[in-house]
Amino acid sequence: MLHIYCPHCAETREEEEFRPKGEAHIARPVEPEATSDEDWGNYLFFRKNPRGLHHELWYHAAGCRKFFNVTRDTVSYQIHETYKVGQKPSVTADKGAAK
């Protein structure tokens, strides 16, 4: 059972209140008409799926019903940080997990 800190509620709650929604920071193509099939395919289906640090979108379904981002390790499942949509992660794979 993961314990997840919701940055909107400013509280740590149990995993069952939340729904994982996959990789975060995926930008929709700005000009849909001018976007190639390949770029549409990448946008819709191709994901990083890293073994290690993963930035992902979560939804506080049984709480505030808002979306936010989580930086989580996909092997240890440790959550390094949670942050609001629009913000940048402070823990990244290049920088390593900050203590």
Binding site: M1, L2, E15, E16, R19, P20, G22, E23, D37, E38, W40, G41, N42, L44, F45, F46, R47, K48, N49, P50, R51, H54, E56, R72, T74, V75, S76, Y77
Partner: protein, 416 residues
């Protein structure tokens, strides 16, 4: 290869079973193979077996980082069926089903394939419409299927709660009598033994650390036991496919998730078929050993940790107890998680890749076990010819660019 038979068993009893041959060799890696298969699970071993048997290519190595059949092959709930909705998927899984039916004889190894029937329950009107549609589609494809009403279900599974008192009363079911369960380890061991006898090298505890390319053409794999050259490399690594693709320098439309399962304490025979429910989401069968084998859906988050969350197990068992109140006091013995590579359309990828000579067979998601012989068979043909087998062609990675998906979400009863 030492032939297994009833007579052999008696003969070896005379020497206290001390003279059995090892089922496969433990060779040192050669410098170069014609084909290297990465991943020694059921699908990889089946690929090696059919390469040697049907295509005469025996200079083949199976490279496995752990031991043979130690990944998802040993972690699944062993259900075999072929009642998929769409033609492409139905043909592929039915191809596998036909191989299952003669597999024990073919391999001279008892894979204990038991055609005890697979039942997919419907709990809502929409479930029943989907079931009718799927059964009709199956029958048009020559796959056995029937729609059962509640009375017929009760005759087959007397212990199921089919009253109106449940939260989601059962309204009917689809029934595939040829479906069933098989002994998962035996499948891996049988294929390994068969492939070994035909000259394939099983390289265990050999981890691929990189894929070496010359320009845009694969020339071999880097391993912890040194470089192994090969003009053709087939990757069959289930949950770790994304990691291997990254080594080769491209991305897959795959996400890895934990899928959990449980077995109970062994009991006397009580359930002689496979019961699956998509709506309340759980499935259960009883193994020959007597324990209930139970599973459900994946954990929603990405994970490589071979474990999942407790909440998922709780939901699974709620569903099982809803269907079978008689099981409410059964104790669970073991619980585990495997890593499944899920595709956006819940169908596998059997495909060439942007790298020449490199092929992937992955994305089987939660239901790869049932396809083991078929997957190996068509992937072997693909590797041997250097282009997709007709049954594998629709499962090209290109479908995620062209949009020609084979959407099996829910259509096949979802639960695997």
């Amino acid at each position: 290869m030492q032939h297994y038979s009833g007579f052999g068993l008696v003969k070896h009893a005379l020497t206290y079973h001390e003279n059995w041959q090892r089922a496969w060799r433990n060779p040192t890696p050669k410098k170069k193979y014609d084909i290297v298969i990465v991943g020694g699970g059921g699908h990889g071993l089946a690929t090696a077996y059919y390469l040697a048997k049907e295509h005469g290519i025996t200079n083949v190595a199976v490279v496995e980082k752990g031991w043979l059949g130690g990944g998802n092959t040993a972690r699944n709930t062993t259900i075999v069926r072929s009642n998929y909705l769409w033609d492409e998927a139905a043909w592929l899984y039915e191809h596998a089903m036909k191989l299952w039916e003669g597999l024990s004889q073919d391999l001279n190894y008892n894979v204990m394939y038991s055609q005890r029937g697979v039942m997919n329950l419907g709990h809502t009107l929409q479930d029943m419409r989907d079931i009718h549609r799927r059964v009709n589609a199956n029958r048009l494809n020559g796959i056995d299927g029937e729609v059962l009403d509640v009375k017929q279900i009760q005759e087959i599974v007397p212990i199921m709660d089919l009253s109106k008192n449940t939260r989601y009363p059962v309204m009917g079911a689809s029934w595939q009598p040829r479906g069933g369960v098989a002994r998962h380890d035996a499948v891996a061991w049988g294929f390994a033994r068969g492939a070994d006898a035909l000259g394939v090298d099983m390289l265990q505890q050999t981890e691929v650390t990189g894929i070496r390319k010359n320009g845009n053409k694969v020339v071999g794999v880097e391993t912890n036991r040194g470089f192994i050259a090969a003009d053709t490399v087939g990757v069959v690594t289930a949950g770790n496919s994304g990691v291997l693709a990254k080594m080769a320098g491209f991305q897959l439309p795959i996400e890895s998730h934990p899928l959990q399962a449980l077995v109970s304490e062994p009991m006397k025979p009580i359930l002689d078929t496979v019961v699956m429910s998509n709506k309340v989401h759980g499935y259960v069968s009883q193994s020959d050993k007597g324990d209930l084998v139970i599973g459900a859906g994946i954990d929603g988050y990405n994970g490589y940790g071979q474990r999942g969350s407790y909440a998922t197990i709780e939901h699974t068992l709620q569903a099982i107890v809803e269907m079978f109140p008689i099981f409410s006091r059964v104790r669970m013995n073991r619980q585990w998680g495997g890593i499944v590579d899920t595709c956006p359309d819940a169908c596998p990828i059997i495909s060439a890749t942007p790298v020449g000579g490199l092929f992937f067979n992955c994305g089987w998601g939660t239901g790869g076990f049932k396809a083991t012989p078929g997957s190996g068979n068509v992937f072997a043909a693909t590797l041997a010819a250097g282009k997709a087998h007709p049954l594998a062609a629709p499962f090209s990675i290109d479908r995620f660019i062209s949009g020609k998906l084979i959407d099996e979400h829910g259509a096949a009863g979802v639960a695997h």
